[in-house]
């Protein structure tokens, strides 16, 4: 096992930079998720750690070794690919044992370790099959088997679940978490799915256009997003972010030129400023007659709760309500906005005002 130190890492293809000096420090045994939209550089960064992409600048350290110029096979890592990357001409057992064979392990050891890995991943009955005869979920288990059998210092996962259907994805998520608890190996996991990021990670690095927007625990990125980008990316539904203005005396906040709402004391930090107000869906609630008047636009019952898009003056916000809430599209309601929980962002930079 080993930690990973990424210092001022830069990647450019020709004159086009795609990673702009990333610093990340992953602790030994930590589960770190790199998350971000397509093209943010998360997979490139993972491939640089794996040695599949060259490093243009900066250093990557696995354990106490700088690995910039080491070939992938000498980095003591294992990787699970989005497309599984199983060797189609080999059986499951040969796929799982391939890494051991390439490292010169004897047949007895290979057989024993393959069997152990297969038992952990419940693929013992598939060992004689070829990848073409397996379902997507089974193939992904085999790919994980190939990773764990070598007992590497670091596991790298490149969007391993994105080809699976929703139910299987949820199952495999649990499976991956169990594996981490069992082996305690450092894991770097790339995904664009914020649910995977939140459920799996010890810490999440949110990437945007080649730099790290925020690197913190799931709780922290959810409760204290550093920018509107993070706030929108993490959480489902996305955080409501609407333009607003805080009165010079900070007693009220006006939503996009409409009715003023009493502001909590903490808003004094942005008195007299135009801001972006961020409010999560769960911080909207139905109120009595003294609430903020709103109109229900769309109702989305989810069973456990109900999401509803509300029109408040000129802005729209999504709220999360109890399943039995008396909501119907087009109906008028009054809302309670829990502004104590709200976030304020600078409209120019998008950064949180703290």
């Amino acid at each position: 096992m080993a930690g990973i130190e990424i210092a001022k890492v830069v990647k450019a293809y020709g004159s086009v930079p795609v990673i702009h000096g990333i610093d990340l420090s992953v602790r030994d045994g930590e589960f770190v998720v790199l998350v971000g939209p397509s093209g943010c550089g998360k997979s490139t960064l993972l491939r640089m750690i794996a040695g599949l992409e060259s490093v243009t600048g900066g250093t990557i350290r696995i354990g106490d070794r700088v690995v910039n110029d080491l070939p992938p096979r000498d980095r003591d890592i294992a990787m699970v690919f989005q497309d599984y990357a199983l060797y189609p001409h080999r059986t499951v057992a040969e796929n799982v044992g391939f890494g051991l064979r390439m490292r010169g392990a004897d047949a007895m050891t290979i057989e024993k370790k393959v069997k152990e890995a297969a038992e952990i991943l419940q693929i013992t009955h598939l060992l004689d099959r070829k990848p073409g005869q397996l379902s997507g979920g089974q193939r992904q288990r085999v790919a994980m088997g190939r990773a764990i059998v070598r007992d590497p210092k670091v596991f790298l996962f490149d969007e391993p679940l994105s080809n699976l259907d929703a139910q299987l994805r949820a199952e495999m998520r649990v499976e991956i978490k169990k594996l981490h608890q069992r082996f305690g190996t450092t894991i770097i996991y790339v995904t664009h799915d914020q649910v995977e990021a939140m459920t799996l990670a010890d810490r999440i690095a949110i990437l945007k256009a080649g730099h790290v927007e925020q690197f913190a625990t799931p709780d922290e990125v959810y409760r204290r997003p550093r920018s509107t980008f993070v706030a929108r990316f993490i959480g489902s539904p996305s955080m409501n972010i609407v333009p607003a203005r805080i009165a010079p005396d900070a007693t009220t906040i006006t939503l996009d030129g409409d009715a003023a709402v009493p502001a909590p004391a903490s808003f004094a930090r942005a008195r007299g400023r135009d801001v972006l107000l961020g409010l999560r869906a769960e911080h909207l609630g139905l109120a009595g007659p003294d609430g903020v008047p709103a109109r229900t636009v769309i109702v989305e019952p989810l069973g456990s709760d109900t999401l509803a898009l509300m029109q408040i003056g000129r802005v729209e916000m999504t709220g999360r309500f109890p399943p039995a809430a008396p909501l119907r599209a087009g109906g008028d309601v009054t809302l309670r906005l829990d502004l104590e929980q709200a976030h304020l962002f600078d409209p120019e930079t998008g950064l949180a005002i703290v």
Binding site: G51, L52, P72, R73, Y84, L86
Partner: protein, 276 residues
């Protein structure tokens, strides 16, 4: 519907013409090899031998050292094929995967070389082989045969290598392979149909090659089959039945080679390795 039927009929007709064009000469040679010279000259001509004889085949083996020619051909074809496929595979892999600067130019040059007329290289090749002391050895043919087939084999392999997902090699390299190891353990097995196709091309090219064989390896002991067969021709005679029998002896091994390789040329080998 009628148009569709006509189209189908035309395709079948075209296929039959192509097949007949290929098969007729071979069948003609086969039938001729069992005829006597008298029957061959008889008018009206017979297609199926009326009094089949194996005398021509006996003469083939008695009159000239055809087994020697056969052995020379096998050695030259096998070694030049191995050399050609190995070099072509490495070249194709480099062109497909290594982001070489000027890969496009290299490809164009390869194509140009493939179209180069062989006759224009004969004199320099002869001089080189003479200076190297390789005239009348297998190597005088193995090297040029390998090089002649290399452009087309490389182009064939490039098209196959391009279809292999990069992540399969990445997985192999993380699993402990070098780049060459990944090529050997993953890419080559998965592109077996392409490798065998290239192999068959190189083998047939070498087996059939006449001009170089005649020029660079003229001594009887080092002759290959195409040149050896010309020895059956007399100064004033042209024994068609015997030459036909010799041709059949030359054709059979290549048919066997193709039959063996064809079984290996199976498609769909890559299905299931990656999503899809």
């Amino acid at each position: 519907m009628k148009l569709l039927r006509n189209r189908r009929a035309m395709i079948i007709l075209a296929g039959l013409i192509v097949a007949a064009n290929g098969f007729f000469p071979a069948l003609w040679i086969l039938f001729t090899s069992f005829k006597t010279e008298v029957e061959l000259m008889r008018v009206p001509i017979t297609i199926i031998p009326q009094a089949p004889t194996i005398e021509n085949y006996i003469r083939v083996f008695v009159d000239q050292p055809i087994l020697r020619f056969l052995f020379n051909s096998v050695v030259v074809a096998v070694l030049s094929t191995l050399l050609c496929v190995t070099c072509s595979a490495l070249a194709a892999y480099a062109l497909v995967r290594l982001r070489l600067p000027g890969a496009g130019i290299i490809l164009s040059v390869l194509l140009a070389i493939a179209m180069f007329p062989l006759i224009s290289m004969m004199v320099p090749l002869f001089q080189v082989m003479r200076d190297l002391g390789l005239l009348n050895t297998w190597w005088a043919l193995i090297f040029p045969h390998a090089v002649l087939s290399m452009p087309v084999c490389t182009l064939v392999l490039i098209s196959f290598f391009q279809d292999i997902p990069r992540d399969l090699e990445n997985a192999a390299m993380i699993d402990g392979c070098t780049r060459l190891g990944a090529l050997w353990h993953v890419v080559i097995p998965l592109t077996a149909p392409g490798v065998f196709t290239a192999g068959i091309l190189a083998f047939v090219n070498s087996w059939d090659e006449f001009l170089l064989a005649l020029t660079l390896s003229p001594r009887v002991a080092s002759r290959t089959l195409p040149v050896g067969i010309t020895l059956y021709q007399g100064e004033f005679s042209f024994p068609w039945p015997i030459i036909s029998a010799a041709l059949i002896v030359a054709i059979v091994p290549i048919c066997i080679v193709i039959a063996i390789f064809q079984e290996r040329v199976v498609s769909g080998l890559t299905s299931g390795g990656v999503k899809g």
